[in-house]
Symmetry: C2
Subunit: 342 residues, 2 copies
């Protein structure tokens, strides 16, 4: 490996004929130079093979341009797609993303955030549910939560209650005899809890009795598939064959698995089942039968999350740092995408 | 936001009763202290609310513990799963991962790597195909490529030729009349090219004539699905109805889409089609019919990639930095996972 030579401001000044002050301005206040002079210096850097040391700059001005992203997993399409959308914001903002895959171990996640703090990250996007927002707020890093409990930090989420209502109303219009929701256990502080209340309210409004099946879903694909298969068997055995069973599931991945179980048993998708997923991820497109689902406007959510984070970051970087008076919470309306399953 | 107080080594020394030298050793050579004394200092840090400034340390010793990962996309399950496996190595190595989603724009990717270099990243894992390995080598960062052209850098890949052979032999044993491979266009330097030669060789060995259908697949899910639908129609119209058509596709995502087209047309999976995918990702499990596939041992590949990268990073950090004499290339054997489609 060739020896790396250190190119100094003096070298650049000598090569271009500019003063060292001018070269320094190129790095610290580029727009104060004419475009022509900027280009001259840029060309010199390329020719001389100058390597900028951003860390030294970060130490001086605190602007690391690092953003931490904490994501629970990548096997649920929702998280993989949201991560892809967030990473794609590099083009627009130039921020570099440090990604951590949370494994629900609180201590590891906490240690990781502390580490990020030591590296002077400027912002944090949290999709994991591990650490309460009160504790996240105490880290004093500009933070945005996406679809998780966020009492003490800024957040973006879909209007889950509205989503639950939409699903129930659609299943009732579809002539379903039974209205069943399949979901995980979560505290009432979780935004997804709104789906349960929304679904139930819409049913009660039409004097219908909703059924809620809650289950623990662990975090491997195989075990989730196994659990969904059990729930399908339970529903299929319990309800009369000729009833139209309307089933609203926690996400498209689960809904897709449920449809797969129906197809395994009945070969074709029968008129006696109506299935609705949530998110409108690629799991919905990949489903063997076009999956009806409640769509989260994910691109809009990713964009708004970045905007809200950037706002806080900019405020913190002011000569006299500012913070928001209280956390901003943005709720975005979902929409129903009707395909073949309902 | 409360004012952050700066806790100094002197504060820690005063609180614990240790000398400043001992406190300094805690940060720079922790193992030289007894476990008991380490704990005393750690407790003091927690009580005093000490914030380590890792950047200052990195500037001093060059060990940023940052690794860059460049990934083409997250909509192919292969990349999402490989990224998840790599990120999970944080527990073992403590490295922090800066993730960049390549969008095939060479200039953006190049600029990003230069930026990472300015942040003193210690290693790079490249899954994108954008920049030639010769150019990547010139960055002089310890690098490992996974499943991509890697003449001038270390690499991990599956034995693609062996995979192609396995697929052909399985389809021939299955009594297929037609042996068709569906793949993308790529240069012979790409490891995946081995699948084409392996498939063809195995066919010729049994005096059978393979057919290769190559197509441009763009990088959105919808357009790939559209292309696969066209290819299915083309095959289904061209070959006699009663022929057993053996189709080997570039990855499980494409194979899953192909199976979906078959099911749309024939309702049940017919005896006249045999389909094999590649990778054994969750796309294979999600497929409406159990998808037969050539499995890449992804966990093993991720582990070996990290090991090979770590080796190079350790060599570079020695008092007299060392590099490998030449790039190490590791090839891992695939295996056939037989399910329902072949």
């Amino acid at each position: 490996m060739a020896k790396e030579k250190k190119v100094t401001f003096a070298d650049i000044a000598k090569y271009t004929g500019f003063s060292k002050t001018t070269v320094s301005r190129f790095f610290n206040d580029r727009d104060s130079l004419t475009l022509e002079n900027q280009k001259k210096i840029q060309d010199a850097l390329d020719v001389l093979g100058y390597q900028e040391n951003k860390l030294a700059k970060v130490l001086a001005n605190g602007k690391s341009e690092f953003i931490g992203i904490i994501i629970p997993n990548l096997y649920l399409n929702y998280y993989a797609e949201m991560l892809e959308l967030l990473l794609s914001c590099y083009d627009q903002y130039g921020y570099k993303f440090l990604v951590f895959r949370a494994n629900s171990k609180e201590e590891v996640e906490r240690a990781y955030i502390r580490e990020l703090q030591a590296y002077k990250i400027e912002g944090l996007i949290v999709l994991s549910h591990t650490i309460p927002s009160q504790e996240l707020a105490a880290f004093q890093i500009p933070t945005v939560a996406i679809e998780r409990e966020a009492e003490d930090i800024c957040s973006i989420c879909v209007d889950n209650e509205e989503g639950g209502r939409m699903a129930a109303e659609h299943l009732i219009e579809d002539g379903c005899d039974d209205l069943i929701q399949v979901n995980t256990f979560f505290p009432q502080s979780s935004p997804a809890y709104g789906r349960i209340t929304g679904f139930n309210q819409a049913c009660h409004k039409k004097s219908r009795q909703p059924v809620l099946i809650q289950a623990e879903f662990s975090d491997t694909y195989e075990s989730i598939q196994q659990k969904i298969a059990e729930i399908f068997e339970q529903i299929d055995e319990h309800y009369p064959k000729d009833h139209i069973k309307g089933v609203f599931l926690a996400n498209d991945t689960y809904a897709s698995m449920f449809v797969k179980q129906i197809l395994r048993k009945y070969k074709e998708f029968p008129d006696t089942y109506k299935v609705i997923g949530f998110d409108n991820t690629r799991a919905a497109q990949e489903c063997a039968v076009g999956l009806t689902t409640i769509a989260q406007p994910m691109k809009e959510m990713a964009d708004q999350a970045m905007e809200l984070l950037n706002l806080q970051m900019e405020m913190k970087k002011k000569r006299i740092p500012e913070t928001l008076d209280k956390p901003v919470h943005i709720k975005i309306s979902p929409s129903l995408v009707a395909r073949e399953t309902a």
